[in-house]
């Protein structure tokens, strides 16, 4: 846990110092806006990293859970006029119920088959968002979603929302790190390493796989709610297959072996997508493809594995 504390401290000081530096570095001039999105996506990828990197399961449908959280929040606040906090709670409840129903049959599958099943699930949810016009507004979506508020205080400025989002991310990260360094996290990694042996050691493998699937869906759902109350407008295009793949990519580029990889990968790819790749216009997909190709070929452990590789190179050359 000691080295994790240092990493958390680094992240927090980075989060505090950067908003000040923004004014001096043009390449990150949109820092607050981009980092709000990055924080929201970090929540998704922290959950996904637990699911993929630790428990060894894959999901190509996590944008669906992001969408379920987003639409729950949006519909409950804009259409029923209820408190956004009820919306967030409803999103969590709906996402976890759906995750249980989808997870029980599909987590019996392994590898490519599980990927295909979750991909199918994501497509189904995407179609529902498009076709349930009365509820979701169909392809054109709906607007007029209120800001998050506590009492009379509204999270309407970028700075307050930045602080809120990253506070939630830090809580989510803390929860995830605690889990990793516990018998629960070890059980997930054991399932990843050898499912049969894990079962023989007393780990109820199917229940543990379902648990992490549900937990990661909750992370994504909370992220969806935060997303909704930031842009205050919803349409299905943010929750399609491409986004599911992007989340998986963020985890892989950063490094699947640790949640820190997910955070690094997410910040990097969000910057690429929102800022640096705008010159490529619609060809940005091509750049993503090239990045993924290069990472899997030359750095299969992701960015977090770089220090270890450099260190072993240095000791070898001596």
């Amino acid at each position: 846990m000691g080295c994790e504390k240092k990493k958390i401290l680094t992240l927090v000081s980075f989060l505090v110092i950067f908003p000040v530096l923004v004014n001096y570095i043009p390449a990150i001039s949109n820092y607050l806006e981009v980092m709000i999105f990055a924080g929201i996506f970090c929540l998704v990828t922290i959950g996904l990293s637990l699911l993929m990197g630790y428990a060894g399961q894959i999901s190509l449908g996590h944008a669906a859970f992001l969408g379920i959280g987003a639409y729950s929040s949006g519909i409950i606040t804009a259409k029923f006029g209820l408190s956004p906090w009820i919306g967030i709670a409803a999103g969590i409840a709906i996402s976890s119920c759906i995750a249980v129903v989808v997870g029980i049959p599909s987590l019996k599958l392994k590898g490519h088959y599980l990927a295909m099943a979750t991909l199918g699930f994501g497509e189904i949810v995407f179609i529902v968002f498009n076709e349930e016009v009365n509820l979701t507004g169909g392809p054109s979506g709906f607007a007029d979603i209120p800001y998050l508020h506590v009492g009379s205080f509204e999270f309407s400025s970028e700075l307050t929302y930045y602080i809120l989002v990253w506070a939630v991310v830090l809580m989510g990260l803390f929860f995830a790190l605690n889990l990793i360094h516990s018998r629960v996290g070890r059980a997930w990694r054991a399932i990843h390493g050898n499912e049969m042996a894990a079962e023989a050691m007393g780990v109820p493998t199917s229940r543990y796989k379902l648990k992490i699937f549900v937990l990661s869906s909750i992370y994504a759902s909370v992220a969806g709610s935060l997303y909704t109350h930031y842009i205050c407008f919803l349409n299905p295009s943010s929750f399609d297959l491409f986004w599911s793949i992007k989340f998986v990519m963020m985890v892989i580029v950063g490094g699947m072996s640790s949640v820190w990889g997910a955070i690094i990968g997410t910040i990097l790819l969000t910057y690429l997508g929102n800022e640096w790749l705008s010159a490529f216009k619609h060809f940005d997909v091509l750049v993503y493809g090239i990045i993924l190709l290069l990472i899997t070929m030359f750095l299969p452990g992701g960015i977090v594995s770089l220090p270890r590789i450099l260190r072993s190179k240095r000791t070898n050359s001596r």
Binding site: R183, V184, G185, R189, H192, G193, A197, A200, M201, S257
Partner: protein, 259 residues
Amino acid sequence: MTSLLEARGITKHFGGIKALNDITFRVKPGQIKAIIGPNGAGKTTLFNCISGVLKADKGEIRLNGESIVKLPPHRRAAAGISRTFQNVAIFPEMTVLENVLVGRHCRSKCEMLKAGFRTMSMRREEKDIEDKGWSFLEFVGLEEQADKLASELPLGDQRMLEIARALATEPKIVLLDEPAGGLNTKETERLAELIHQIRNSGVTVLLVEHDMNLVMDISDEILVINFGKKLAEGDPKSVKENPDVINAYLGEDIDFSDL
């Protein structure tokens, strides 16, 4: 005398092949019992049926008189059956210590919420898990390798690690599937000593093994199976002299008078 583990009429088919045919045997508490037989006799299949990796088509398995045949493998581990695997099944990306800690899973109970919020009771339990984990590492003599990745250990140490992990579940009976496979003479001697120590600590041992010297040396009782059927059962001496067993190992008895 009462038996700790009792298997009655275990039968298992794979398609048209009868891998196990009506196998019945008992293991007494405190025994070291070996299962031997030629390749493909069904020894590992029998192990898989007992530990729950495979479901027997027919038959009854009792541990301390209670039927366990309907329990999934993880519940059997909690009931007191632990095992190692023929092709070492360690968790390669986890450290040696963490491998053993996984063995404590069925003896601890903090679930996701407690673990995620790191409650007091969870921290206390983690401390206990770690202490016990170290003691089992020391039992097999791997404490100095604790922080290495399990995949970095040589095969002999990996087998020891698997035994430590199995013992960490505090089983009543431990099933060792070819523990001497791939070990050199010196390592095998150490293994024999370790198996005695396991028995002396109060854990009953059931093993499948090809190394006949080891089997004859350490076993109290031997069960011989061939083509999925029980061939003989008894102490090492009587098994060694049993003509059926000699036939099974040396090939069919040919009656030369026919020629």
